[in-house]
C-alpha cells in the first residue's frame, strides 16, 4: 500500500497519535494551497496532505483517464490513502471540487469520517431549473473549448516560474518549481469532470457533520450556492467569510483557520464518535 502514498505525494505531519485531519486541494493547484492553513493544526492533529492524480507532485502514472473520468474515482483515491495510513475518524477538509470528492468518499465509506469541512463547495456549477450554479452551459463549454484550443498558452502559464525568492524566503525553490504545475491534457479532463458534475442529490445522503465555508465574494461558488449546500446537508452548518475570491485558504488564511478550528476541535466530534462506535 506504500506506493499509494508515493503516488499521491502524501505528506504526514503533526501529532502521530492525533486525530487525522486530511486537507484536499481543488482544481488548478496542489497541496501547497494549504501551506498557510495546515500548520496551524499540527499541534493537536495528524495532518495529512496529498496531491490528486495528475496534480502537483503526484506520479504521472497515477492518472487513469477511466478512473478519473468521474469524481468517484478521486474519492476512491482519498479512501485508498486513508486505508494506507490506517486513518480512522478522519476530519476531511476539501477545497472547491474536493468538497464534493469528500462527500462522495464519505458516502462510499461513512464510518471512515468524523467530520467534513467544505471550503467554497459547489454541487453543480451550471445553472439548472430552480438552481443557480453561477455558470451557463455555454460558459462551461467555452471554458473547455479554451482549454482545448489554447492549451499552449495555458501550458506556458502553468509551467514552473523560476523567480528570485529573496523577498519571500519562505518559498523554497522546490515550491516555485512545482506549484500549480499540471499536464494541460489532464487539466482539461479534470476541468470537464469538475465543471460538468452534479452532486446535488448526494448531499442529502451525507450523515456526517459538515461545516461549509463560504466567501462573501466568490466568482466560482456564489454565496447562494454555499447556502444551498449547507441547507441540503442533513447536518450542515454555514460560516460566511468576509473574503473575496475562491481561495480563502490563500487569501484569508487566518479567517479560514479561525472558522475551521472550533468545528474540528469542538466537542461535537466526541458525541459523533460515541454514537458511531456505540
Amino acid at each position: 500500500m506504500d506506493d499509494v502514498l508515493a503516488r499521491h505525494n502524501v505528506r504526514v505531519s503533526g501529532r502521530p497519535d492525533g486525530q487525522p485531519l486530511m486537507f484536499a486541494h481543488g482544481f488548478g493547484c496542489d497541496q501547497n494551497m494549504w501551506r498557510l492553513v495546515a500548520p496551524a493544526f499540527e499541534d493537536d492533529f495528524r495532518v495529512i496532505l496529498f496531491d490528486h492524480a495528475g496534480a502537483g507532485g503526484s506520479d504521472p502514472a497515477a492518472y487513469d483517464p477511466q478512473r478519473h473520468g468521474s469524481l468517484e474515482g478521486y474519492a476512491e483515491d482519498v479512501l485508498e490513502i486513508c486505508r494506507a495510513l490506517d486513518a480512522q475518524e478522519v476530519v476531511f477538509v476539501g477545497h472547491s471540487v474536493s468538497a464534493m470528492i469528500g462527500a462522495l468518499a464519505d458516502l462510499a465509506d461513512p464510518r471512515r469520517f468524523a467530520k467534513l469541512v467544505m471550503v467554497g463547495p459547489s454541487p453543480r456549477y451550471i445553472d439548472d431549473e430552480g438552481y443557480v450554479g453561477g455558470f451557463s452551459d455555454a460558459d462551461i463549454r467555452e471554458l473547455l473549448h479554451s482549454l482545448d484550443s489554447n492549451y499552449l498558452g495555458w501550458s506556458s502559464a502553468m509551467a514552473p516560474v523560476i523567480m528570485g525568492n529573496g523577498d519571500r524566503p519562505e518559498l523554497g525553490q522546490e515550491l516555485t518549481e512545482s506549484f500549480c504545475r499540471t499536464d494541460p491534457a489532464i487539466a482539461r479532463r479534470f476541468a470537464e469532470v469538475t465543471f460538468t458534475s452534479d452532486n446535488r442529490r448526494e448531499l442529502s445522503l451525507v450523515q456526517t457533520p459538515t461545516l461549509v465555508l463560504q466567501c462573501s465574494h466568490d466568482a466560482i461558488a456564489p454565496v447562494s450556492v454555499g447556502k444551498y449546500v449547507a441547507d441540503a446537508l442533513p447536518r450542515g452548518s454555514l460560516v460566511l467569510l468576509d473574503a473575496t475570491g475562491h481561495c480563502p485558504n490563500l487569501s484569508a488564511p487566518e479567517q479560514t483557520i479561525a472558522a475551521i478550528a472550533p468545528f474540528v476541535r469542538g466537542g461535537a466530534a466526541q458525541d459523533v464518535v460515541g454514537t458511531r462506535v456505540g
Binding site: L144, S146, Y151, G153, V161, D167, R168, L171, F179, S251
Partner: protein, 423 residues
C-alpha cells in the same frame, strides 16, 4: 576626449551636420515629451493597478483603448476578473490568483478580455504582487499585451501539433497492423503436439521488428515451423520479412526438404536485389503414431535446443549459410525422432543477446530456463517471460521463441514432477 557634435560635423561634411542636428533635436524632443505621466498613460501595453482582491484602482489610457471602457466605468467598480470571459474567470480563480499569492508574480498568462462592446480580445498578462513591510499584500500591478497575432500563431501551432499527433497515431496503427500480419496472433493448435510461441518487439513495440515466426499445416500430421530474423527494423525490413515468410509457405508445398526450401529462398532474396539478408530455421514435422519426425535445417540461424526428461538441452542440427548474401550456400538437413516428452525450442538471438547492464542473457541461462520448463506444455512463454524479466521488461532487440513438445502419455510427466517435488 569626446568630440562635441559641431566638431564631428566639421570633419565629415555638410550632410552629416544636418543629420547630427536632427538626431540631437529628436533626442531632446523625446526626452521632453516622454514625461513619466505620458510614459504611463501611453505605454505600448495596458497597465492596471488593483487591490489585492482585484478591484481596479488605476488604469492607463492604453488599457482603456484595449478594453473600450471609460475610466469611470472601471475604477473602484470592477475587478480584473470581471473583465474576463467566464472560462477566464475560472482560470483566474483557480490558477492565476493562487499563483500570484504564492509566488508574487504570474507571467505570460493567456486570457481573453471581454471588451465594453462585448467583443473578445486575446491578451497576455503579467502581474506582480506588491507587499508591505510585513509581507502582507498591498496591491497588484498588471501589464496587459494585445496578443491577437500571437493567438492566431498559437492556433496554427496547435493545429500542426494535432495533425502530427494524428499522423503518429496512424503510423502506430499501421505498424501494429503490419506486425500482426507478420506474426500469428497466437500459435495454432496442432493435434498431437503442444506448440507455443512468444514474441516481443524491441522497445515500445511501435516499430515493426525483424523477427518473425510462422506455423502452418501442409497436410494431416504434416506441419512446418519457421522462425527467423531479417536484419534491420522498420518498414523496409517488414517488406523483406513478408517476402521471406510467404516464399517459405509457397516453397514448402513443392519441396520436402527444408534445406531445398532455404536454397530456393536464398535465390529469391538474391534476385530481389535487397541488401537485407536473413537467418531462418525451418522444421518440417510429420506425425508417426505417438511420435513425430522432425527434419530441420538452419540458414545462419542459432540452432534449436532439444531436450527431454533424460536429455539435457542441447543444440540440434548443423549450422548453415546466411540467406540472401552469397550464391554459394550450404544447408544441412537433420532428422530427429521426437518421442513423447521431447521438447524442441526455437529462438532468435534477441533471447541470448538480451542484456541486463553489461551482462548477456546468454546460452547458459537459456538452457537453464528450457530445462526448468521442459515439463510444461508451453515452455516458449515461460522462456520469453524470463528473458524479459532479465532485461527488466524492456527488450533491446526483438525476441521470438517457439516451443514444440510431444505430449507425454497422459499424466505421466506431470505425475513424475509431482512425485519428485514431493520426495
Amino acid at each position: 576626449m569626446t568630440a562635441a557634435p559641431g566638431e564631428v560635423a566639421e570633419r565629415s561634411g555638410e550632410g552629416r551636420v544636418m543629420s547630427q542636428q536632427a538626431a540631437s533635436e529628436a533626442f531632446c524632443a523625446a526626452l521632453l515629451d516622454d514625461d513619466p505621466e505620458q510614459l504611463y498613460e501611453r505605454a505600448p501595453c495596458g497597465y492596471l493597478s488593483t487591490t489585492p482582491d482585484g478591484t481596479i484602482v488605476k488604469a492607463n489610457a492604453t488599457f482603456l483603448d484595449l478594453c473600450g471602457y471609460r475610466r469611470e466605468d472601471l475604477l473602484g467598480r470592477r475587478t480584473f476578473a470581471d473583465l474576463l470571459t467566464p472560462g477566464g474567470r475560472i482560470y483566474h480563480e483557480t490558477h492565476y490568483a493562487p499563483m500570484l499569492r504564492m509566488q508574487g508574480t504570474v507571467r505570460e498568462v493567456a486570457l481573453d478580455l471581454v471588451r465594453a462592446d462585448g467583443g473578445r480580445l486575446p491578451v497576455l498578462v503579467n502581474a506582480a504582487l506588491d507587499t508591505t513591510e510585513d509581507g502582507s499584500p498591498r496591491m497588484v500591478r498588471v501589464a496587459v499585451f494585445d496578443a491577437t497575432e500571437r493567438r492566431e500563431y498559437e492556433r496554427e501551432l496547435l493545429r500542426a501539433k494535432q495533425r502530427a499527433e494524428q499522423s503518429e497515431t496512424r503510423a502506430h496503427a499501421l505498424a501494429r497492423t503490419l506486425q500482426a500480419t507478420l506474426i500469428p496472433p497466437s500459435a495454432p493448435s496442432v493435434p498431437g503436439l503442444d506448440v507455443a510461441a512468444g514474441y516481443r518487439p524491441a522497445g515500445d513495440g511501435e516499430e515493426v521488428g525483424g523477427d518473425f515466426y510462422d506455423i502452418f499445416q501442409l497436410a494431416d500430421g504434416d506441419w512446418v515451423v519457421a522462425l527467423g530474423d531479417v536484419c534491420g527494423k522498420g518498414v523496409e525490413a517488414a517488406v523483406v520479412t513478408a517476402l521471406v515468410r510467404y516464399t517459405i509457405r509457397a516453397l514448402t508445398v513443392q519441396q520436402a526438404l527444408p534445406s531445398a526450401v532455404l536454397r530456393s529462398l536464398n535465390e529469391v532474396l538474391l534476385a530481389q536485389g535487397t541488401e537485407r539478408f536473413c537467418t531462418v530455421v525451418l522444421v518440417r514435422l510429420r506425425q508417426d503414431g505417438s511420435t513425430w519426425t522432425a527434419t530441420l535445417s538452419s540458414g545462419g540461424h542459432p540452432l534449436p535446443l532439444l531436450t527431454s526428461r533424460v536429455r539435457e538441452p542441447d543444440p540440434v542440427g548443423a549450422p548453415g549459410s546466411l540467406i540472401g548474401v552469397l550464391t554459394d550456400v550450404r544447408f544441412h538437413d537433420e532428422v530427429v525422432r521426437l518421442q513423447p516428452g521431447d521438447v524442441m525450442v526455437l529462438f532468435t538471438d534477441g533471447v541470448t543477446e538480451g542484456r541486463s547492464g553489461a551482462e548477456f542473457y546468454g546460452d547458459e541461462r537459456l538452457r537453464e530456463s528450457v530445462r526448468a520448463h521442459r515439463d510444461a506444455p508451453r515452455p516458449a512463454e515461460s522462456v520469453l517471460g524470463e528473458v524479459l524479466e532479465f532485461q527488466h521488461g524492456a527488450a533491446r532487440d526483438d525476441i521470438a521463441v517457439v516451443s514444440v513438445r510431444v505430449p507425454p502419455p497422459s499424466g505421466t510427466a506431470e505425475q513424475q514432477v509431482r512425485e519428485e517435488s514431493a520426495s
